[in-house]
Amino acid sequence: MFFNVNKTLKIFSFLACLFILQISQVSADTNVSLGSIEMGKSGTIEVNSDSLKIDSNVGIATFDGNVEIKLNKIILKAQKITVTYSTDENSKQEITEILAINDVFFISNKDITKADRALYSLSDNTIKLSGNILINQGSTSFSGEELSINLDTGQGTMSGHVKAILGSDE
């Protein structure tokens, strides 16, 4: 079997950062700061759901029932996704936050991230996952109760019974 040293080292580095920082934090939170990856400049986004309701009175658009959003090979699944946007007539129509609840999955190739709830805040470009978080990346997995990531900086914090299982991808 081919042993991918480079990949394992990266995982180990990540885990080392994760655990060292975990120890150094009084709050037992986990901080990691990593680079970012550019998103594609073109593509097709496909959204499927049982229903879509746009309510201008409260500024909420709700995808309900078996929601699935696909962008190239990346898939977001949830039972319900709520999008909140500004309703102030004098301001530009802008989305403020996106909330996915119940059986939330982010899937990209073999990488699967699961949580009960995911809140994406556009004002500070952060995503907060909560409830039974499970990140499966090949033979490596992480679990915890809360995960917060700043998408500008790539810095994230995982907390609540954080557990990591290090495996080697053959």
Partner: protein, 202 residues
């Protein structure tokens, strides 16, 4: 270099997926005019439209004029048939209409058949119903019914929308005002399975 590691790939997934979701939602919101006052056209044109149809009679299957709201309306049909003596129910064959809210905002619609019920304040379009707006959005469906008293527009069949944002296909759709007293706000509801597609960067 940590660019390719698993953590940053997770961040990348979020960075790609979430702004994309925001993008498609924002695009879908542009289905409807940004200013709420335009939406209220449904309320203001109701009675004058129905009166126009009532006055049109069987000998005048076309109309061009200004409504009480100030909007310009053009109606054409091959045939208008009254279903009872008091002209409460009117059938209009091969109907096409153009509504102009102002010089830049307009909408056209056509259908095989239109049925207007004056006493119930409803107007129904049946068979190859299509509508197009100045915002580049077109709608196709098999049926569309307007309930003027409730400020409700409803389709029972599959509805297909196409516009600069992409496409939306749904089993049925409803559009209605939430608060008729305040005259502000609306709800757009797609049901029975929704499929949205948005192409970006092309």
């Amino acid at each position: 270099m940590l660019k390719d590691d698993k953590y940053s790939s997770l961040v990348a997934i979020f960075k790609v997926m979430l702004p994309s979701l925001a993008l498609i939602i924002l695009s879908a919101l542009f289905l409807l005019p940004d200013s709420r006052t335009k939406i209220q056209a449904l309320n203001t044109i109701d009675k004058s439209t129905l009166n126009i149809v009532k006055k049109a009679g069987i000998n005048k299957p076309s109309f061009r004029g200004t409504l009480a709201s100030g909007s310009n309306l053009e109606l054409y049909a091959t045939e208008i048939i009254t279903k009872n003596n008091d002209k409460n129910i009117i059938e209009i064959n091969e109907i096409s209409a153009r509504l102009e809210l102002n010089k830049k905002t307009w909408a056209t619609a056509s259908a095989k058949k239109g049925i207007v019920n004056i006493s119930e304040q409803t107007a129904e379009m049946v068979g190859k119903v299509s509508a197009k707006g100045s915002n580049g959005i077109s709608i196709e469906t098999s049926d569309l019914k307007v309930f003027y008293a409730k400020s409700l527009v409803k389709t029972e069949g599959v509805v297909f929308m196409k516009g600069p944002f992409g496409t939306i296909k749904a089993g049925s759709a409803e559009f209605y005002d939430m608060n008729q007293n305040s005259g502000t706000g609306y709800v757009l509801l797609f049901n029975k399975g929704v499929k949205m597609q948005y192409n970006f960067g092309e």
